[in-house]
Symmetry: C2
């Protein structure tokens, strides 16, 4: 298929496709002559994945490139892919100085310990969580970390199912893509569902039915 067809099927404008090609998000089509290339289903799938990560997952283009290039790493073990994808999603400028963050890290480490989780010490999420804790404390909500034990239990149940599901997807490529889709779209979905749950609980408590 030529670029016009790719554009139509993925619902992405031709200039944007060219932009993604330039940025290395999308691999070039197979050249059939100096100014022709043909694209196939893999390009279409990749392009749809790109749009999903950007539109639904709100990932910046640079992060999408990172994530996708990890997917294309042929012989990376599944566990490591998960780590790299996860790390890419954390990409956030360290907004707290190290010494302030350290206070939060103690709580985070204790949390992980309490739940008996096996997590590498340099996992960026740990610092993200620490940052959230110090931020909440500064806002006068020191309690917030108390909710994290709840989150951990909920997340553990969720993760068990998700990892189980993903690892049964058959081909390696499917599994890897499943990890990305599950991580990114799942995160958006969980956030939305949590807010719905708030609405529900709040409706039951604070409105006369």
């Amino acid at each position: 298929m030529r670029i016009a067809e790719l554009s139509r099927q993925a619902n992405v404008s031709i200039p944007t496709i060219k932009y993604y090609l330039r940025e290395g998000l999308l691999s070039p089509g197979e050249r059939t002559s100096r100014n022709q290339a043909s694209y196939d289903e893999t390009h279409l799938g990749r392009l749809r994945l790109i749009r999903a990560l950007i539109d639904v997952g709100k990932l910046p283009v640079a992060t999408v490139r990172e994530v996708l290039s990890t997917l294309d790493e042929p012989d990376m073990p599944l566990h490591e892919v998960l780590g790299v994808v996860s790390a890419s999603l954390c990409e956030r400028r360290q907004t707290e100085p190290d010494d302030v963050l350290a206070a939060g890290r103690e709580d985070v480490d204790a949390l992980i310990e309490r739940h008996g989780w096996q997590i590498a010490d340099d996992t960026p999420e740990l610092d993200v969580l620490a940052g959230i804790i110090v931020s909440a404390r500064r806002l006068g909500h020191p309690h917030i970390a108390d909710a994290f034990d709840n989150y951990c239990e909920a997340a553990a149940a969720i993760a068990e199912v998700e990892v189980g599901y993903v690892s049964e997807l058959g081909t390696v490529e499917n599994v890897l893509e499943g990890v990305v889709v599950g991580t990114v779209l799942g995160e958006a979905a969980l956030a939305a569902i949590r807010r719905l749950a708030h609405q529900n609980v709040s409706a039951r408590r604070f409105t006369e039915s």
Copy 2:
């Protein structure tokens, strides 16, 4: 306190504070003369809240303004504040055409029905979820919606605790701020913890210990 002190304590540059004042995120200080104003603890707290929403919650400035102006609405019932804050966080351009979205909405409505949740039909999260479902289907992962029942159970447990906690914060202002902080920072924390849970499950399954 004058602006320099506010800047120092909140760790936000003076030009940025002026920018927030212009944008209406921060209420002006009390004028003491033509070119002097004094700021108090409420300004400091508000400024810290702004930074937390922007840095941790990644909210755009326009959304922060919306959320904060809702907080300052004096006599809005708690349940409604939650709805408005929630809606502000959804602010995402509708990327799917209505007819395509409708297919996803059926699944979402069934999900809500199954769990017996009481949710207004026009809650924007419902469309967000629908968008995620159609997006996942297009990517060849029709299964993803299956995980949503899990998410719902987990979210219900979480929400019960959170709403209970927040409603015991004493003054109305504290409760309202608690809603915002809990919603936004909690979302970031839950996402991070979910990824940690993935790491943990994956580590146990795919690495020899």
